[in-house]
C-alpha cells in the first residue's frame, strides 16, 4: 500500500487542480502532463492549470465497476472535451446516467475517487458535473 501512496501523491497536481502543461513552442495545452508536446514533439514542461470547463464528447455507464469503485455503481465515465483542447477521461457526478447527453456542458469538481480500504488513504481527484445553473 505504501507504494500506492507515493504513486497517488505524485499525481496530486493533475488530480486536484487539473494541472497540465503548455507547450512553449506551439502553445498547445497538454493533459495529462507528459513533458513532450503531442503536436510538435518538442519538450513541454510548463505547468498550465486548465479551467475545468468543457463538454461531454461521449460517455458510457459503468455497472460492473473495477476494484475500489464498486460502491459508486451505476456511474458514468465520459470523455470530456475541455475548452482549452485536451480530451480527458473522467467520472461524471451529480447526474444520473439517463440524464447524460453528448455535448452537455460540464465543469470540474474535486471529489472522492476511492479509498484504499478502511485503513488506507482517501484518493481525491477531478470529476465533472453538469454546469451549475445560476
Amino acid at each position: 500500500m505504501s507504494g500506492k501512496v507515493a504513486h497517488d501523491w505524485r499525481l496530486k497536481g493533475q488530480r486536484y487542480r487539473l494541472e497540465g502543461e503548455e507547450c512553449p513552442h506551439c502553445r498547445v495545452k497538454i493533459f495529462p502532463p507528459r513533458d513532450i508536446c503531442p503536436e510538435c514533439h518538442k519538450p513541454a514542461k510548463e505547468p498550465y492549470r486548465l479551467s475545468g470547463r468543457g463538454e461531454v464528447y461521449t460517455y458510457s455507464t459503468v455497472n460492473n465497476a473495477p476494484g475500489g469503485f464498486e460502491e459508486y455503481t451505476p456511474y458514468t465515465v465520459a470523455l470530456v472535451k475541455l475548452e482549452e483542447g485536451p480530451m480527458i477521461t473522467a467520472q461524471l457526478t451529480d447526474v444520473t446516467p439517463e440524464n447524460v447527453k453528448i455535448g452537455m456542458p460540464v465543469e470540474m469538481v474535486t471529489r472522492k475517487l476511492r479509498a484504499q480500504g478502511d485503513e488506507g488513504t482517501i484518493i481525491y481527484g477531478y470529476k465533472f458535473r453538469p454546469v451549475l445553473q445560476a
Binding site: Y16, R17, E71, V109, K112, Y124, A134
Partner: protein, 353 residues
C-alpha cells in the same frame, strides 16, 4: 459587560471573499418520521445530504473555490488554511492540506483542522482575523464544513446535514464586509459529544437547550452588543446557529431581533443543520442579498460549549463581487429528493461487507 471583552484586530480587517457549498440531495423530514415513527412530520422540511463521493474535504474545496473567485486574489498569497469540522475525513491527517493543495495555496501557509462541534468554523474565522489583523498575513482562509451524522432513529437524524462555507479574511480596504468587532464566550458544558471511535454522537436531550444553546448565544450576543454600544434595531440582519428552525427564532426574539432580520440567513428548514457550516452558511446567504452600509450580527454555537459573535458592515464592493460565484440559493435550488433507503446508502448506514 466590560467592552474590553470585545476583540479588535490591530489593523482593520474584513471578508474579501466568501463562498458556500450545499450538496444536491435532500431528505425530507417525513421520510425519517415514516421509517422511525410510523409517519408524521419532523422539525424541518428537509435536509441536505452529501453524495457518495462527497465529504468535508470536497465540500470545503468547492466553498473555498467560490470564496477565491469572489476575492480575486492569487491563492498563493493566502497564509493560512483552517478547516473547522466535526466530520474530518481522517482521524489523523489534515483536511486543510487537501483543500490548500486543491485551490493552489500550497506550500507557504499555515494549515490545521479545528474541532469545536458546530462552532469550529467560526473559531477558524476568529483565528484568521487574528492572523491578518496582527499584520502577520495579508490573507487567511477560514472554512466551516460538515457531513454530520445523526444516529438512526435519534431526533438529530431529522436535521444533521451536509454543507459548508469559506471566508477569505484580508485588509479592510479590500473587504466586502468589514469587521466591527468579535467576541467569544466559552464554558465547559457537555450538551453533545462523540467519543473516540464512535460513529454517532450522543447528546444531553433537553440539556442542549437552555444551559447550552440559549445561554451561550445570548451571553455572546448581549456582550458584543453592549461592547459596541449597538442595539438590535441597528442591524439589517442577524444570523444565529441553526440546529433547527425554532431555536434561532426563539433566541432572536429574546434578544430583540425580528423575523425579518433572520429571514435571508435562516436556512435550516431547507438544508438542515450543517453543523460547523450552519451559522456561516446563513451569513453567506445573507451576504448574497445585503446592501452597502448594512450591519450584520453573526453568532455561532458549538456544543461543549461556546459561541463566537461577530459584527460586520457591508461595503460597496459586495454587489459587484458576489456575482462571481454561485449564490447559496443556487445550491438550494439544485435539489434532488431521496428516500430513506437511498439516504442510508449515501451515508454509509448499510453493512455491505
Amino acid at each position: 459587560m466590560d467592552s474590553q471583552q470585545v476583540m479588535h484586530p490591530q489593523r482593520p480587517v474584513g471578508i474579501i471573499g466568501y463562498g458556500s457549498y450545499v450538496p444536491m440531495y435532500r431528505l425530507p423530514s417525513t421520510e425519517v418520521a415514516r421509517v422511525w415513527h410510523g409517519g408524521g412530520k419532523g422539525p424541518i422540511r428537509e435536509k441536505a445530504v452529501a453524495g457518495l463521493d462527497e465529504d468535508t474535504a470536497t465540500i470545503s474545496i468547492e466553498a473555498a473555490r467560490n470564496a477565491l473567485a469572489r476575492a480575486e486574489i492569487d491563492p498563493a498569497e493566502i497564509r493560512a488554511v483552517w478547516v473547522g469540522s466535526e466530520s474530518h475525513p481522517y482521524a489523523v491527517k489534515p483536511t486543510s492540506t487537501i483543500v490548500a493543495e486543491a485551490i493552489g495555496t500550497t506550500p507557504y501557509h499555515l494549515a490545521a483542522d479545528l474541532e469545536f462541534a458546530c462552532k469550529a468554523g467560526t473559531e477558524a474565522l476568529q483565528a484568521a482575523i487574528g492572523l491578518v489583523g496582527s499584520g502577520m498575513a495579508e490573507y487567511a482562509l477560514a472554512i466551516g464544513a460538515d457531513t454530520a451524522q445523526g444516529r438512526p432513529g435519534d431526533a438529530l437524524e431529522y436535521t444533521a446535514s451536509s454543507g459548508g462555507t469559506a471566508f477569505i479574511v484580508g485588509p479592510a480596504d479590500e473587504a466586502l464586509a468589514t469587521l466591527s468587532g468579535s467576541l467569544s464566550y466559552v464554558t465547559d458544558t457537555p450538551d453533545f459529544w462523540r467519543r473516540a471511535y464512535q460513529h454517532y454522537p450522543s447528546h444531553g436531550g433537553r440539556f442542549t437547550g437552555e444551559p447550552a444553546y440559549f445561554h451561550h448565544i445570548q451571553a455572546a450576543a448581549e456582550g458584543i452588543l453592549a461592547g459596541l454600544q449597538a442595539r438590535p434595531e441597528d442591524f439589517a440582519y442577524a444570523i444565529f446557529h441553526q440546529p433547527n428552525v425554532k431555536f434561532p427564532q426563539r433566541v432572536a426574539r429574546r434578544l430583540g431581533f425580528t423575523q425579518e432580520q433572520l429571514e435571508p440567513g435562516l436556512l435550516s428548514n431547507v438544508i438542515g443543520n450543517t453543523y460547523a457550516g450552519a451559522a456561516i452558511t446563513g451569513f453567506s446567504a445573507t451576504l448574497d442579498v445585503a446592501q452597502p452600509g448594512e450591519r450584520i450580527l453573526v453568532v455561532s454555537f458549538g456544543s461543549g460549549a461556546g459561541s463566537d459573535a461577530f459584527v460586520w458592515e457591508v461595503t460597496e464592493a459586495l454587489a459587484e463581487r458576489r456575482s462571481k460565484a454561485p449564490l447559496v440559493s443556487d445550491y438550494i435550488r439544485r435539489r434532488v429528493e431521496i428516500d430513506y433507503a437511498l439516504y442510508a446508502r449515501y451515508r454509509h448506514k448499510l453493512l455491505v461487507k
